[in-house]
């Protein structure tokens, strides 16, 4: 059994950490950290034990925060995390992904940066800015944000990113060249007959199936999709879901056919859980069928939303599933979604949830 499990929580007013032993029965909350900055994504690196936080503060701009002691102390840096003089400055860091020795950061306005020294200094992966479609990218409701970074487990040259509302883009050469990978995903908000463009789809969350790098899932503004060829083609898997709209998607730590979603009632219907009853929707057959898991979740008067980075699984057996709400509640299941309990409440708006097992 692991020594402990940490749930890393990014909120509108700082980072928090919920901590439990491997049984995941009782939880202790620590925080707020990072000087109350909005923390869009807090992630752990199980190889080093470091915790990184992607933030952006209205006064002080963007930075990546880091803790080497499980949240006790923090440093911050944005050295190199900048566009060229004269260009629109970076407002915030939105997403982080660790791959071996490299840390990737997605920023607003959309761009991708890389650090090879644990977040102390950053270099711009400029190729994405040179894609011919760049001038036509338009911001979504949260801005022109690069919110999803998916790296290939065996090939560091391959990276997929999700940008709202520009779509999914893929590089096979470490970021020098990129191509859009949105075929089969809808843009319902475009005029009739123009709903399947090459780019411009509003991807909300992009994830890779474990042990199966050609399989990607995405929750989109307009539907839920699976790809089995690295994003070249997407198939709708929204049949059986209560809505085509939602933000997060979380893969199982071991089973590529299992996925967790948290559909909301619709983009113009309030963006809270359908019928004001909270449920996580789970598939165990890659999206062919869906089951709603709601034991222990609020089943009346629940007008909460769950944002794109606010759901995660852990790597334990059985897998834990976690999500945080716009109302500041953190829910956890220690048995793959079958039973739920609220492990923190009254937090600021939860922007991200990730986990790290500490051996």
């Amino acid at each position: 059994m692991p020594e402990k499990i940490l749930v890393l929580i990014g909120t509108k007013k700082g980072a928090f950490i919920a901590e439990s032993d491997g049984k995941r029965g009782s939880w202790k909350l620590r925080g707020p950290f990072c000087e109350h900055w909005p923390m869009n994504h807090v992630v752990g690196d199980p190889e080093t034990g470091a915790i990184y936080g992607a933030g952006g503060n209205e006064w002080f701009g963007p930075a990546v925060w880091k803790s080497d002691d499980l949240g006790q102390t923090w440093t911050h840096s944005s050295e190199g995390l900048a566009y060229a003089a004269g260009d629109e400055p970076i407002k915030a860091v939105w997403s982080l992904a660790k791959r071996n020795g490299s840390l990737y950061a997605g920023v607003q306005p959309a761009g991708l940066f890389r650090s090879d020294d644990g977040g102390a200094t950053w270099s711009h992966i400029e190729g994405l800015q040179h894609h011919p479609s760049r001038k036509d990218w338009n911001p979504g409701g949260a801005g022109l944000i690069l919110h999803s970074i998916v790296t290939h487990p065996a090939d560091e040259e391959q990276i997929w990113v999700g940008i709202s509302s520009a779509g999914v883009f893929y590089t096979w050469d470490g970021g020098k060249t990129w191509e859009p990978r949105n075929r089969g995903t809808r843009a319902d908000f475009l005029p009739e007959g123009q709903n399947y463009p090459e780019f411009g789809q509003c991807v909300h969350c992009l994830v890779m199936a474990p042990g199966k790098p050609d399989r990607l899932y995405q929750q989109n503004h307009c539907g839920m999709y699976r790809s089995d060829d690295g994003g070249k083609n997407w198939q709708s898997i929204e049949k059986g879901l209560p809505s085509t709209f939602g933000f997060p998607a979380a893969t199982h730590p071991r089973d590529p056919d299992t996925l967790f979603l948290l559909p909301l009632n619709g983009d113009s219907a309030g963006r809270y859980v359908p019928d004001a009853k909270a449920a996580v929707w789970k598939t165990e057959d890659a999206g062919a069928t869906w089951l709603d898991e709601r034991k222990g979740l609020p089943q009346e008067n629940c007008y909460a939303g769950v944002l794109r980075q606010a759901m995660a699984t852990d790597s334990l057996e059985p897998a834990g599933v976690y999500f945080g709400t716009s109302g500041g509640s953190l829910f956890a299941s220690a048995n793959e979604g079958e039973n739920w309990s609220e492990i923190a409440q009254h937090l600021p708006t939860i922007l991200s949830v990730e986990t790290m097992v500490v051996e």
Partner: protein, 97 residues
């Protein structure tokens, strides 16, 4: 420090806001340092506390939108000149929610 050797560099006083100090433990609220422009003053602060420039300035480069630098009661830019002994007040905008 000035890049122009012909220009005399004298000392000014930077008054830093508490929320900025919180990001750089050990930094004082009042700093006396050589500078003849706001930019030079901020460069000097960044040399003392690496990263402080990024918290005050964006990459345009310009003073961040929600940061205010006041010299002699007037809102300053990076190019604003500083007379010897000038007190420069760095303030955060009233914003939030």
């Amino acid at each position: 420090m000035s890049n122009n050797p012909a220009r005399s560099v004298h000392h000014v006083i930077a008054r830093l806001p508490g929320v900025l100090i919180d990001l750089f433990p050990g930094a004082p609220r009042r700093v006396e340092l050589p500078a003849s422009t706001v930019k030079e003053m901020i460069d000097g602060l960044d040399a003392l506390w690496p990263g402080m420039r990024d918290r005050m300035c964006d990459s345009r480069p310009a003073i961040r939108r929600h940061m205010n630098v006041f010299v002699d009661g007037e809102k300053a830019t990076l190019e604003t000149g500083l007379a010897p002994g000038t007190e420069v007040f760095i303030l955060t905008a009233i914003s939030g929610g």
